[in-house]
Symmetry: C2
Subunit: 393 residues, 2 copies
């Protein structure tokens, strides 16, 4: 149910509207904010004052635009006080980053841990150390961490990680095992949000994260689509060919069996050993036929799965990330041709096919960005608790 609005929540929401507009429109004067939001100059002035007190906004000098009349003083987001922490569990390392309100990355950490051999509890203990280190160091820079989110490589439903094949984890209640406050979410979802906020991401796109599994995050109207239980976006198990090779999910012919990291390396003649994507890239650059053909096949399969995804979810753009980012030059054409051929008559415009500009950090950034976005949408608590000293009696 939509919640009822009272005086305090009216103010809370309007604060969010004003702060959101400051974020959206860069340096902007109070007068312009009033115009855009529809609030009066008085109201906006008061709110901007509160936001400045809370350290979320700063005056960034006079905005002289050549027009006559008194020039306005522009305000911008301030990265000096509020920050958020993004965490990620990868196969062989943990990573963390601290991002401030302006979405600038302030601190980054990685710590090598072989999470395939470690138990969930061990891994999470390592993660806790990383958490405290990051929080302490952020504090020493004057930043206060408004919240944190943890990215895990598999579908999450209410803090519970269903399965993470590349960690060997199955049905782990991560939320309950954490000894520090953090939200838990799927790496593919958060990578999509990372692309939205830190990449060139437009407002509507399907972000494909190719790893050992293949996940996807669907962003529509600037918000992530999660489905009924938060398990949406399992692109890796969309059926490419109903009688294809069987998959660990129980099905047959899933995309993962054609374009997952393992399948791809095997097709390129690199399976079975410790060989990885770097080797594949070398061979591609060397023009080795087997590697090129492996990419072409994977691209076609991806194109087929994406065609189904487009018909079902109608994304504006497709963004390829994860292992597909470095492979983009070799898979772009087969993916694009497959999609174009199969979508030809149904739509005026086939979704654009682009590549992620973010590296392996996409999920960590998205995790931190999610917290920042929540703060910007609802700065109320931070404004109130952010007051210095006891308020007027």
């Amino acid at each position: 149910m939509t919640q009822a609005v009272r005086h305090d929540s009216m103010r809370a929401r309007n604060l969010g509207v004003v702060l959101g507009e400051v974020r959206r429109s860069g340096p902007i004067t109070r007068a312009a904010l009033a115009e855009i939001t529809g609030l009066t100059k008085t109201t906006v002035s008061k709110m901007v004052g509160d936001l400045i007190d809370a350290g979320m906004v700063t005056e960034s000098g006079a905005l002289r635009d050549g027009e006559r009349g008194r020039p306005g003083t522009a305000v911008t987001l301030s990265g000096e006080r509020v920050a958020a922490l993004g965490l990620e569990i990868n196969v062989d390392y943990l990573s963390a980053c601290v991002v401030d309100l302006t979405l600038s990355v302030r601190l980054r950490y990685t710590q090598a841990v072989d999470n395939r051999t470690a138990s969930p509890v061990e891994t999470l203990a390592h993660l806790q150390k990383l958490f405290h280190k990051a929080v302490d160091e952020a504090r020493s820079e004057g930043l206060s961490i408004a919240g944190s989110t943890l990215a895990v490589p598999g579908p999450v439903d209410g803090g519970r990680l269903h399965s993470a094949p590349n960690l060997g984890w199955h049905d782990v209640r991560v939320g309950e095992l954490l000894n520090f406050p953090a939200a838990v979410d799927n790496e593919a979802n958060l990578a999509a949000l990372g692309e939205l906020w830190f990449g060139s991401g437009p407002g509507d796109f399907l972000h494909v994260s190719g790893e050992i599994g293949i996940g996807a995050g669907l962003v529509v109207g600037g918000a992530l689509f999660r489905g009924a239980r938060g398990l949406a976006g399992e692109l890796g198990h969309v059926i490419v060919s109903p009688e294809g090779p069987s998959c660990r999910c129980g099905g047959r012919g899933c995309l993962e069996q054609y374009a997952g990291q393992e399948a791809l390396l095997r097709a390129a003649g690199l399976g079975g050993g410790p060989a990885g994507i770097p080797e594949l890239l070398e061979r591609l650059h060397a023009g080795e036929t087997r590697a090129l053909e492996a990419c072409a096949c994977a691209g076609q399969a991806l194109g087929i799965a994406l065609t189904s995804a487009i018909h079902l979810t109608d994304p504006g753009t497709i963004v390829l990330g994860g292992i597909f980012a470095p492979l983009f030059p070799w898979i772009r054409d087969p993916v694009h041709e497959t999609m174009t051929a199969r979508l030809a008559m149904m739509r005026h415009a086939v979704p654009e096919l682009t590549v992620s500009r973010l590296g392996g950090d996409a999920a960590t950034l998205g995790a931190a960005g999610q917290v920042i976005h929540r703060v910007i949408a609802d700065p109320w608590t931070h404004v109130v608790t952010g007051r210095t000293g006891p308020g007027p009696r």
Copy 2:
């Protein structure tokens, strides 16, 4: 951007919250409304008064629940004043229905028109007559039509119908051709909403409308998912087998080629003639092998497409409607078995598979229901303009 809240919009929203709660919780006292919404009794009382004045709510007698203390007077939605009109263009007839605020169907119309031979303009002229007839007759019953929505059999993007194969329409700007005020939406989308509001529909489901084409409407959290351009839900073109028969969409192996009405009838040996679903049902009841096998094959194909859809969109339930409703006894098992086998390892619970309780009216009902839902979510304008006579000066 989220809009700023001012005093009037605060009141508008709270009116919507109160009215929405009246709808949700049946006959309910003012005190209970206050408890649930978090507003004070004073505020709720004032709002209920306004809603009664506007004819949207009535007192429905004392609510004596055996407890001691003064019994409350319950209020319910009133179907006496506000209503909505749903319209639908089918292959060989037009239909309309008037639904009141309580979602009771008050008037129904159908008019035989062969829309395959008629041009869009001719069809819409017929529709206009139907519109006025419905509005006039509703008015004579004391109902005022708050709005209307038109269901068309194909994907719609901003009032523009991309293609409606069973009408032979292509790229028709329906919104601009209408000489009366109505929103235009895809029949599959509206059928899903019909199921949500008039059927047994739970809050999260994928509604499959099998017709000549196969569409789907995805409802998550009580809201329809439309994708970036409103073209989501084209289940009929999800790829079942990449090298399958070619489809009018330009692709190959689309679901429609296996489970669409034409493919199904052809497989059952009924193709080429005027034979239809009734004949197929006769043969199924007679136990004819060819018909049974056709259903089994269609069911398997549907199961494969739904498996992909489930991985991508994670619906809580699958509701089969359209031609799949009467065929349900014969396709249920193949669909269910295919889905279960292929989803086994990925989720604890495979989505439930149910059948639509609504007949061919689903879309018309959804169309009218959409208007009603908008009125309930935002009753403000109706409360203000609904006042009888000049207000107190």
